[in-house]
């Protein structure tokens, strides 16, 4: 078991690096899209209902099936993987973003509107800073989920730690299965710890 680690630690490290690249790219795209969707959804409750309902439906599709479904459209590889990860994240991010923005005291937003702030000013100056903890929590959940779902992306040749795991499964190579899974799990725990450490704490408010 340890023999594999000693011989192939560079393979594991490389796979972890590719994995992280995939996650980082997916997170950046996810956040940009989720921010845009949040602005749209916070304008109208009707749109918000439709969008979150649709995203919930998509989220309930198993990731392996989702990767397979997209292959005819965008082929094998990283692009498809990033698209799937971004789609899954929208549900997690949007739900948390909207709930966070909604949790801001109605008296506060009414006072802001009453003094003549535009909707955009209320969003940027009042609701976003007051919801920052909920926003950070949403991002953390999405990040951890992305790290773990990205493992499955190896099934469509997107690389990452899943490659070692799936290789092991195909050839019934126990050390590969074990180390591949352990490394994926370790990465998830690590990202969770790191983001917990850097997320904002309750301010003077």
């Amino acid at each position: 078991m340890t023999e594999y680690l000693i011989k192939h630690y560079d393979d594991l490290a490389e796979a972890a690096l590719v994995h992280l690249q995939l996650v980082l790219l997916a997170m950046v795209c996810s956040l940009v899209l989720a921010a845009a969707l949040t602005v749209v959804c916070s304008c109208s409750g009707k749109i918000a209902g439709i969008v979150t309902g649709l995203l919930a439906m998509i989220y309930s599709v198993p990731s392996l099936a989702m990767f397979a479904l997209l292959i005819p459209l965008t082929g094998l590889g990283k692009t498809t993987a990033v698209i799937v990860l971004v789609i899954y994240n929208q549900y997690l991010l949007l739900q948390n973003f909207l709930a966070g923005l909604d949790s801001v005291d109605k008296g506060v937003t009414e006072a802001a509107a009453g003094m003549g702030m535009t909707n955009l000013q209320i969003l940027i100056k009042i609701r976003l800073p007051l919801a920052r903890e909920a926003l950070a929590a949403g991002i953390r959940i999405a990040l951890v989920s992305t790290v773990s779902i990205a493992t499955i992306a190896a099934s469509i040749n997107a690389g990452g730690l899943g490659t070692i795991l799936f290789d092991g499964l195909r050839t019934m190579n126990i050390p590969k299965i074990v180390w591949g899974s352990l490394a994926s799990a370790l990465l998830v725990i690590l990202t969770d710890r790191v983001t917990r450490f850097i997320s904002p704490h309750r301010g003077p408010a």
Binding site: T109, A111, A112, G114, M115, G116, I126, P204
Partner: protein
Amino acid sequence: MVHAIEFRDVTKTFKGAGYSAVDHVSFTVEEGEFITILGSSGCGKTTLLKMINRLYEPDDGKVLLSGTDISSVDVVSLRRRIGYVIQQIGLFPHLTVGENIATLPKLLKWEKEKTAARVDELLIMAGLAPDEFRNRYPSQLSGGQQQRVGLARALAADPGIMLLDEPFGAIDSITRTKLQDELLALHGGMKKTFLFVTHDIEEALKLGTRVMIMNGGKVIQYDTPEQIIRNPADAFVRSLVEAARAKEQFWERFV
């Protein structure tokens, strides 16, 4: 003659409600008046107030400020000319007292020195020592102090009209009496039109130069406090006055 505020046959019905929150209401307010609007919950007094800064839009009728139909004015610039104070106070908890008061001057892009001077001036006017309170956060203040800041914030850009929606509703009675007196003194010192919503008849009669009594979305009586006490317009107003009298008699028993 141009009135500071004029309602022309204004009606507002909320979706799904079987009745009108405000039902064909017409009245005028002159510049510098202190109008109190009195009524029980659900009588339409807050709805009426919120149609002046267009937080609600009337379904029918017109609201005019200084002769101008407000539906033809940009809503943001309209609100920036109207002070607004609410029962929940609604101070921004992530900003200091000074930053709260400076919000509108900043939006209006005042110079820094002018804004800072205005903040200090308003804090003094509100009875809060600037050096002590400027850098505190709202959560570090008592309810009464918070509403003082709410008032100062609403006055920041020197609005011609102040809308106050039960501003002292959640404040203990000793502090409330003090704040009422200060508000009266404040109004006397400036040429501003005040509209003050309350469900407390004593507060309404004490503060208002004229009192508007509402019930079921309609204005029942709109007159000076004296006229309301002497000549109540109908049974509803009479019952309000009698309720206040009964309270007074309760106290007299202990004299």
